[in-house]
């Protein structure tokens, strides 16, 4: 039953719930930043609409299309980084990518995003999980935030 358990691990209920009923989805009139992240090879897309005040992300919403992993990751990410400063948001991105790319145990600050930790075992889906986060990083560059060396 190892095989089905990997599916269970990947498609936890919380992932499917965020996929079917995404949080922070739709237009944002007050946005002063807008970026589109996409994975051209599969057609998945996440558009981020971000309202900042100084160093802080005071509001953000997303629109997009794609698989459960990419859309649930976007939904969970928007919930988590709303209200954070750029520095805090990018630190969360680093912890998320450590979990997805390196297989690090989920950092407590990631909260419900820990549900995506199983993606690390499926190389083909890593780019789905990181799509929204790459878009966030792109938005940070656009906002003139100096990014730490990778």
């Amino acid at each position: 039953m190892f095989l089905m358990s990997l599916l269970d691990e990947l498609y936890k209920e919380i992932i499917l719930r965020h996929y079917k009923s995404p949080r922070n989805y739709g237009p944002l009139e007050t946005a002063n930043l807008q970026v589109v992240g996409d994975n051209p090879s599969c057609g998945d897309q996440v558009e981020l609409l971000i309202q900042t005040e100084g160093e802080r992300i005071v509001d953000l919403r997303f629109r997009g299309q794609g698989c459960a992993i990419s859309q649930a990751s976007a939904s969970l990410m928007t919930d988590l980084v709303k209200g954070k400063t750029w520095a805090e948001a990018l630190e969360l991105e680093r912890k998320f990518k450590d979990m997805i790319l390196e297989g690090a145990p989920p950092a407590p600050e990631l909260g419900e995003l820990a549900a995506l930790s199983g993606v690390h075992k499926l190389a083909a889906r890593v780019k789905c999980a990181t799509l929204a986060w790459n878009a966030l990083e792109q938005a940070a560059r656009q906002a003139g935030v100096v990014l730490a060396e990778a």
Binding site: L7, L16, S41, C42, C67, A124, R125
Partner: protein, 414 residues
Amino acid sequence: MGYPECMAIVTPHVIRQDFPLLKRHPELVYLNSAATSQKPEVVIEVVSRYYRELNASVHRGAYTLSVQASEAYERARRTLARFIGADEHEIIFVRNTTEALNLVAYAWGLHNLGPDDEILLTEMEHHANLVPWHLVCERTGAKIKAIPLGPDGRLELEALDSLLSERVKLVSVMHVSNVLGTVNPVAQIAQAARAMGALVVVDGAQSAPHMPIDVRALGADFYAFSGHKMLGPTGIGVLWGRYEVLETLAPFLGGGGMIREVFVDRSTYALPPQRFEAGTPAVAEAVGLAKAVEYLQNLGMDKVWQHERELVAYALGRLDEELPEVRTFGPRGLDRGGVIPFVLGSIHAHDVATALDQHGIAVRAGHHCAQPLHRKLGVPATVRASFYVYTTAEDVDRFIEALKKVRDFFRDWL
């Protein structure tokens, strides 16, 4: 539902024994041959033997080995010519269908199109038969029009009369859809196009591997296909062109092998097909592709086609009957190759494909390099199962049973 007759036409269980990868992975149900096929032992062996026994520079050396390597390369060209009913001087070895279509776009399109001209494509084309023309249009000002795709997965040929005018200088269509499996009536399209004076290009990437091809009967000017989709190596494909058209084409890539005479500041060019084969060609790959062709000819291309037709009918029948949550696309009829695109409820294609992979079923998910087609279908992505000579009815059964488990897994979210 009983097994289809195909088991008596082509014997995939026996054929599977010729494929080292399939023997090595007996549990694998490989349903992605439309993307790339597996390779039989004889092809792997002939490529390996070329390097062990024959490797030399072709058309260059005066020594015996070079002559033998050149002969092997030219013998491969003749084998490919016979395979599609062409003359050997009309066979240009390229990397793949994509390069073949780019060759026509660059060597003909850039030199013969202007702002008042039109290129006629279809809404079901693969990106390889769209993007090269976009590049040509950006530089020449020519415009693109497209034959619409109907709701049944077939081209709406009623539109052909109004789309074809004397402004249309080139018509480029795929023979068989890589997504829908639709067999387009290219002979009919070619006849109408040539009557208007347009050149006709046929993307044969999904037809050459699966059905008998006679380029003269198709009535086209160009026919392009890839080796790796028809049991051959990667990095080798063919552009066939009508010789009198090839003669009028400018060179594509410049370099050694494609010239007659070179001066410091200018050169003159070789006759076709050498004019279009600059640099050291993919000799081992060409020899491997010729072996793949011989393997297919031994099976009989008419039988290969019939086998896939029957497998697809069997699979569609079971899907219709047993999986109402699955929506398939593509025509129902004899004009349908061994490709089944589908969606499962509202679950995204990638999630379905990942779940199928966990059951040992290898399928492709996404837009299959056909975004305009998917826009027309109204879905961002589909899962695609595709069949070939080594696909068995049991493979189809295992695919259906796995798909049922996937449906059950996502039941609350369909």
